[in-house]
Symmetry: C2
Subunit: 211 residues, 2 copies
C-alpha cells in the first residue's frame, strides 16, 4: 500500500475527484468503477487498480459510496489541509492565477505575491502587498509558504527555485520553459502552454502525413 505511485495514477485521481464532486451535486449516493471510468476518460479496470493502491473502498456488487470516496481521495491527495502558496511573478499569468477563484476553493491560499519590477512592488492586489523578489527567502520563511509558483521568465527561474527551496518551500509549480534542477524530494510540476500547443501541432502534422 505504500509503493511508488505513478504520475498517471495521481492525475487520474484528480479526475475522479472532479467526477465525484459532480455526482454528489446530482444526488447520486453510489457510483461504479465503470461510471467513474467514463467520466475520468479511462477504463473500469484502471479505476479499480488506481484505487486499490491505497486501500479497498468499494462494496462488491454495489460500487463506491460517492461521499465517502470523495473524502478518501481528498485525504490521499493531501487536500484535507490547506496549502500556503507564494506567487512569484505578478505578470499576466500570475494575475490570472491570483484571481482564479477555484484556487482558494480547492485549498490553496495565496499568502504572498512577489515581483522583480520596482513599478509593481508596493502596489496591492486586494489584501496582498506586492513584495520585491529580493525578499523571497524572508517571505517564504516568515509566511511559512509550502508551495511556490514561478510565473517568471525562464532565465530567472532556476535561481528563484533554489532560493525558494533553501528558504523552506516544499514544492514548485513552474511556468517557465526550463527544466529546473532542485534537491531530491522537492516535487516540481511544469505547466507550459507552448509545449501543449506544440504537441497538438505534432499530432495534427503526423495525422496529415499518414493520410
Amino acid at each position: 500500500m505504500s509503493r511508488r505511485v505513478s504520475e498517471s495514477t495521481i492525475r487520474r485521481l484528480s479526475y475522479y475527484l472532479r467526477a465525484l464532486e459532480a455526482l454528489e451535486g446530482s444526488g447520486a449516493a453510489t457510483v461504479s468503477s465503470e461510471e467513474l471510468a467514463e467520466r475520468g476518460g479511462t477504463t473500469a479496470a484502471q479505476v479499480r487498480k488506481d484505487l486499490s493502491q491505497f486501500g479497498s473502498f468499494g462494496k462488491r456488487g454495489l460500487g463506491y459510496a460517492v461521499k465517502e470516496l470523495e473524502c478518501t481521495l481528498r485525504r490521499i491527495l493531501g487536500l484535507h489541509v490547506r496549502w500556503r502558496v507564494a506567487l512569484v511573478g505578478a505578470g499576466r499569468i500570475g494575475s490570472a492565477l491570483f484571481e482564479y477563484p477555484n484556487f482558494a476553493q480547492r485549498g490553496f491560499d495565496c499568502v504572498a505575491v512577489l515581483d522583480a519590477d520596482p513599478a509593481k512592488v508596493g502596489s496591492r492586489w486586494g489584501p496582498i502587498l506586492i513584495r520585491p523578489v529580493s525578499e523571497l527567502e524572508r517571505t517564504v520563511r516568515e509566511l511559512e509558504a509550502d508551495l511556490v509558483i514561478l510565473a517568471v521568465p525562464p532565465e530567472a527561474a532556476q535561481d528563484l527555485a533554489e532560493r525558494a527551496v533553501g528558504a523552506g518551500a516544499r514544492g514548485i509549480l513552474n511556468f517557465a520553459a526550463v527544466q529546473l534542477r532542485v534537491p531530491r524530494g522537492i516535487p516540481v510540476k511544469d505547466v507550459n502552454l507552448v509545449f501543449e500547443m506544440e504537441a497538438l501541432s505534432f499530432a495534427i502534422t503526423q495525422a496529415d502525413s499518414h493520410a
Copy 2:
C-alpha cells in the same frame, strides 16, 4: 520510422528545442546527447532513442549540429507552418494567453476571440473584435482556425468542443477540468493548474508520511 510516437517523447522534443535555441544563442555549433539530456532533464540514452525514432541526425564522435537539429525538430513538431488559433473565453486565462508574446513568436496566431458574456462581445483586444460564442462555427469555418483554445467553465466545454470540431477545428487545448469526448483523430491537450497543484500536494503529503 513511422510507428506511434509517445506523448513523453513529444514533450521531450519540446524541451530539446528550447535547449537548442538557448545553445544557439550562446554560440555553440554542436551539442552531445549528454548535454541535451542535462538541459532537458533526462538521460543521454533517452535523447538518442527519442531522436532515432525520426531519423539519424548526429555524427558519431561529434554530436549534433545545433542549428540543423533545431530546424529538424521544428519540422518534426510541425512548426514550419503557422497555426491559426481561435480563443474561446475572454476571461482571465484567455486574456493572459492572448497577451503572451511567445505565443505568436512560436508560430501560433490568434485569429479570433469569442466570449459568452454580452458585455464583452463587441469590444476589442488590440486588432481583434470579440465575437459571441454563438458564432463559433462560422468563425472557425471562415477564418480557417486549426486549433481552438477552450478557456471556459467546465459545463460549457463539451458542447463547444463538439461544435468547434464540427466546424473544422483540428485540435483542442482545454483549460476546463473535464475530460472532453471528441471524434477519433482530434488531439486534445488538457491544462489544469488545480491538477498540478494537487499532484504537488500529494507528493509532499506522501513524502511526509514516509519520513
